[in-house]
Each structure stands twice: as C-alpha cells, then as structure tokens.
C-alpha cells in the first residue's frame, strides 16, 4: 500500500534537529528530584509540632494532583472526588479493622475499586453527554449518594465510622509507628513523589497528549482517530486510583474515619481548591496550591478550636474553612485566573 507522506527516517527532519529539542520531561524530573530531597530532609528540620501540618499538606497535595489528572488535563470537572477518597478510606478501614490485613494491600484494593467506580460513573455521565456544570453536578450527586449509603449501612458502622486498632509497636507492613515518627511524613511524601513521576510520564505520553487534545477540542481529536471515551476514561481511572490512595493514608494517619471525613462534600472541595489555586492543568500547580491550603487549613482549625478573645464568637463554628477557601478562590480567580503556578509559568515564558 502506498503511503502519502514519507516515513520519518527518509524525511528531512533529522533526529537532532534543534526544533525537536524537548527538555520538558527531563526538567520536570530534575524538579521532582529536588522536591524529593526536600521532602526527605523535612522531618529533620521540622519541629514536631508541625508534623501534622506537613502530613495534612501532603494529603491535600495527593488529592489535588489526582483531581488535576481528570479535571485539569482531562477537562472533566469533578465535584465529587469525595466518592473516591471515601472508597479508599473505607476499604482500608473495613479491611484493616475486620480482617486485619495490611493497609498496603487495602490501599491497592481501594484504589482498584475507586477506579472501577470512577470509570463507571464517568462512563454513564459521558454516555449521556453530560458536560461542564452538568458533569460536575452529576459527580457531586454520586458522592452524596455514597455518603448517604455509608451512613445507612450497618456493616460500615453507619454514622459511627471506624476506629483503627492500635497494635502497639512499629510495623511498616501494618503502617503503624510511634507518634511523631518520621515515617508518617516519609510515606505520604514518597507516594506523592511517585504520583508526580507518574503524572510527568503520563502527561508526555501518547494517552496524555491525547487527553489534552480531547480537552482542547474533542471533535478535532476524534477526527484524528482518537477514541474520545477511552482517552477520557484512562485519565479518570488514574485520578480515582490516586485519590483512593490518599483516602487510605488518611484513615491510617488519623486512626479514624467517619462518613463525613471520607465522603463529605468538603472533601471534594479540598481536592479542587489547591489545584485551582496552584493552577489546573499544570504539573506543579496542585502542589503549590497544597502548600498554601494545607497550612491555612491547620491555622483555621486551631483558631476555631481556641480563638483569641476578640473573635471568641468563632469558637467551634463549622464551615469557616470552606468560607475562607471560597474567599481565597475569588481572589485567585480575579487576579491569577490560571492559578499561582500557572500564571507565573506564563509570565516566565514571555
């Protein structure tokens, strides 16, 4: 069969053509290496008082990096990532409490289940042509459905949730360490570094390029032979798996999970906010956002627990965190519509 265009080997484009220079992947891995080193020494330089802030920030970062895969690079705005976080958290709690199996295994099983559920939900939404706000609302509805379901299932302890048994002693296999152990930072840090490495590879790979093409223009992408549905579902699956891993680690770190902590609407918001603040559809945006939102969340929390006298009325007020996120979001959207990292990156290019 004759081909219309020359093969690359007999075409004019040489492999070492300077216009083909492509340092994006390499540069991203260099940055990631620096990040890995910073995270590795973090427990040594960090006052123990700040450990919980660091862990919370890492969990936010994982959630936002995951959300960004589907909603940033894939353009499918999820407002229901609590569903996948919750599945990860609950599969872990259930299997560890009821069967005493290793949290690492539970984490993988939770990720697998979240992937299946996420793909099924996304498939239904896309099959019925839900897009934009309708897609977001549908994912929100599914997450709320899971919340209600869990609150009414006896075997999931209804509204009580699960307390993990404290085994005493340290065990990597059972993911339990003495309080203040550096491993509570190193483990989520390692997961984050691996996740970011996966994101870097995915974004520059064929399915990653396809999903960005589909996000930009699905009709054009289809006309170039791209299976739009399959391409989107790959991004959804990766996103849901990673979100579930974050959920499982959450349960392990706090030794407790209940329906609201796992499936509550604020969990979905916590996945979105760091990504939007940092810059959606960028590799580093969600991380940058988490570095702001993590400490901020802890600050709000401690102020509410024990407010200084002049704002004493705020003691125990619920929902203030979400209100402050919303205010922050408005500022960002107004002044840096592409997020902090996204905007800086654009300025840098010019």
């Amino acid at each position: 069969m004759t081909r219309a265009v020359e093969r690359p080997q007999d075409s004019v484009a040489a492999a070492d053509d300077p216009r083909l220079k492509d340092n994006e992947t390499r540069n991203a891995f260099v940055t990631l290496g620096v990040l890995a080193i910073v995270l590795a020494v973090l427990p040594f330089v960090l006052n123990e008082r700040f450990e919980s802030i660091a862990v919370l920030t890492l969990i936010f970062a994982l959630m936002a990096v995951a959300w960004n895969l589907m909603s940033g690079f894939g353009g499918l705005f999820s407002f229901g990532h609590a569903a996948f976080f919750g599945i990860g958290a609950y599969v872990d709690a259930y299997l560890v409490v009821e069967y005493g199996i290793s949290p690492w295994i539970a984490m993988l099983l939770g990720a697998a289940l979240a992937t299946l559920v996420g793909i099924a939900i996304a498939f239904l939404c896309l099959r019925y042509q839900l897009a934009g706000a309708y897609f977001a609302l549908a994912t929100f509805a599914f997450a709320q459905m899971f919340l209600l379901l869990v609150q009414n299932l006896e075997f999931l302890h209804k509204t009580e949730g699960f307390n993990l048994p404290i085994l005493g002693g340290e065990s990597f296999w059972m993911l339990q360490f003495r309080q203040g152990s550096d491993l509570y930072i190193w483990i989520p840090a390692a997961i984050l570094v691996l996740a970011l490495a996966g994101v870097i590879l995915y974004v520059h790979s064929r399915p990653g390029q396809f999903v960005q093409a589909v996000r930009d223009d699905a009709v054009a992408a289809a006309s170039l032979g791209i299976n739009v549905m399959r391409t989107k579902l790959i991004a959804v699956g990766l996103s849901c798996a990673l979100t579930a891993v974050a959920g499982a680690f959450y349960t392990q770190y706090y030794f407790f999970v209940g329906p609201q902590q796992a499936f509550g609407a604020q969990v979905s918001i916590e996945a979105i906010i760091p990504a939007v603040i940092g810059g959606i559809g960028t590799i580093w945006g969600p991380l940058v956002g988490a570095l702001i939102v993590g400490p901020l969340a802890e600050l709000i929390d401690s102020v509410l627990r024990d407010p200084p006298a002049f704002i004493g009325f705020l003691q125990g007020v619920a929902g203030l965190d979400v209100a402050i996120y919303a205010a922050l979001l408005i500022v960002i959207v107004l002044f840096m519509p592409k997020g902090i990292y996204g905007t800086l990156k654009e300025r840098w290019r010019r």
């Binding site: 020359e6 390029q209 930009d216 006309s223």
Partner: protein, 239 residues
C-alpha cells in the same frame, strides 16, 4: 477500483435538507473538486462522510467496507481523514504538538511522533511556527496546521475543506503545488474550494452542489463551458 462510494446520501436538519441525495463514486488516486455557493451543503457532506454527523439516509462505502454510522475516530483510523473549514487547533499546544498528536497514531514514542510531525510540518511549509502556540497562528497558519494534522495520519482519502481560504495569492501557489504532489504520490482527495483557479488546476473531476443536491458531476473544463453552471454556481470571480 473505487475507493469511496456514496449512495443516496441525505442529511436533513429540522426542515432544511442540507445534503440531498448525493451519489458519487471516487476512484483510487482520484482528485475530485467540489464547488457550490455558500450553504450548498459541501461541509455537511464532509461531516457525513467522515462520521461527524449521522446521515438521514444513504450509504457510505470506503475501501470496500460499509462505514455508514461509524464514529468519526474509527473512520479516521480506517484512513479517511478530513480537515475543518473552521479551524480547530488544540489551543494549549504548540503547532508541533498538534501535529504530533496525529503522528502518535502510528508512533507510540514521543520522540518518533515529534520527529514525524516535524517532517510533515516542513512539508506543508509551516516551519516558522514549529514551536509557536497553536492559538497564536494566523489563519493561513491554522489552515496549514489542519492539513498537517490530517497528513500526519497518512490517510488514503483526504477531505480538504477550503484549505486555501485566507491565504494571500502569493502563498497559494506553493500550497497548490503541494496538493498536486500529494496527489501525484497516490493520495485520493476530495477538495472543497471556492478559488476556481485552484480547483481547475488540481481536479480531475468536479462535483457542483446546489442547495444540497448534486447539480453536475464531470470533467471540470467541460463544465466551465456550461454557461448555466458558470453563471449560477461557480461564483463571480470566475465568470
């Protein structure tokens, strides 16, 4: 041997018949020009053939296979690729990345895809925009980008929808030459174009459409002798 057969192809939009009973057989390696006034249904015909729109009636056979009702991606993968009159670049990407998306169809690795894409970009003379964001390209650049992406799929049948529009006359000649070369290399082309000089230079046969219907089909040079066709449908710039 015929590469494409279109039988009784019809598309109705609530009340309006945009494409009305089109019957054409395109031979392998043929270059078929398609002309007709604005709104004649040319673009809609392309959308039907390439699977973007489902036909109301009719049948499309490509390379011996009935592809009626196939989704667009499957049609493209089978080797039937179109360009868009209203250009549809992937705006977040550079020109090279845009074309590499199509090159990825054959090449799994990023390096090979980008290398192939650069070769295609050079072929359509889009060199100066290789690493420019697609959104920043002028119309003429975007038209070539459409062509480059389609070519990067290495199609058997290429549907070109006004790829010369927006080009200043000086830029048209090399494009017409390129299309001629592609044809000479064995590519089969359906070519929608308003610029008659280009249509006549390239087309072996000409389809004239009017209000969705097939007004005439045949030798382009004979057809230009037909005063009725000329005056009514080929446009003032030719008369």
């Amino acid at each position: 041997m015929s590469l494409l057969q279109v039988e009784g192809l019809t598309k109705r939009f609530s009340g309006l018949t945009a494409v009305d009973d089109i019957n054409i057989t395109v031979a392998d390696k043929e270059f078929l020009g398609i002309v007709g006034p604005n709104g004649a249904g040319k673009t809609t015909l392309f959308s039907l053939i390439s699977g973007q729109l489902p036909p109301t009636h009719g049948r499309i056979v490509f390379d011996g296979v009935d592809i009626t009702g196939w989704p667009a991606d499957k049609v493209a993968s089978a080797g039937l690729v179109r360009t868009f009159q209203l250009m549809r670049p992937f705006e977040s990407m550079t020109a090279l990345e845009n074309v590499a998306v199509a090159s990825h169809h054959r090449f799994r690795s990023r390096r090979d895809a980008r290398r192939h894409a650069l070769a295609v970009i050079e072929r359509v003379q889009l060199d100066r925009y290789v690493n420019a964001p697609a959104g920043s390209l002028p119309t003429a650049g975007l038209k070539r980008l459409e062509l480059a992406r389609a070519l990067a799929l290495e199609p058997k049948l290429l549907l070109l929808d006004e790829v010369l529009a927006g080009l200043v006359p000086a830029d048209r000649a090399p494009m017409i030459e390129l299309l001629g070369d592609l044809h000479a290399d064995g590519l089969t082309v359906l070519f929608i174009e308003h610029i008659m000089a280009a249509v006549l230079a390239l087309s072996e046969r000409l389809l004239v459409m009017h209000e969705g219907a097939q007004l005439a089909l045949g030798n382009p040079h004979e057809m230009t002798q037909d005063r009725a066709v000329v005056e009514a449908y080929l446009g003032e710039d030719y008369a």
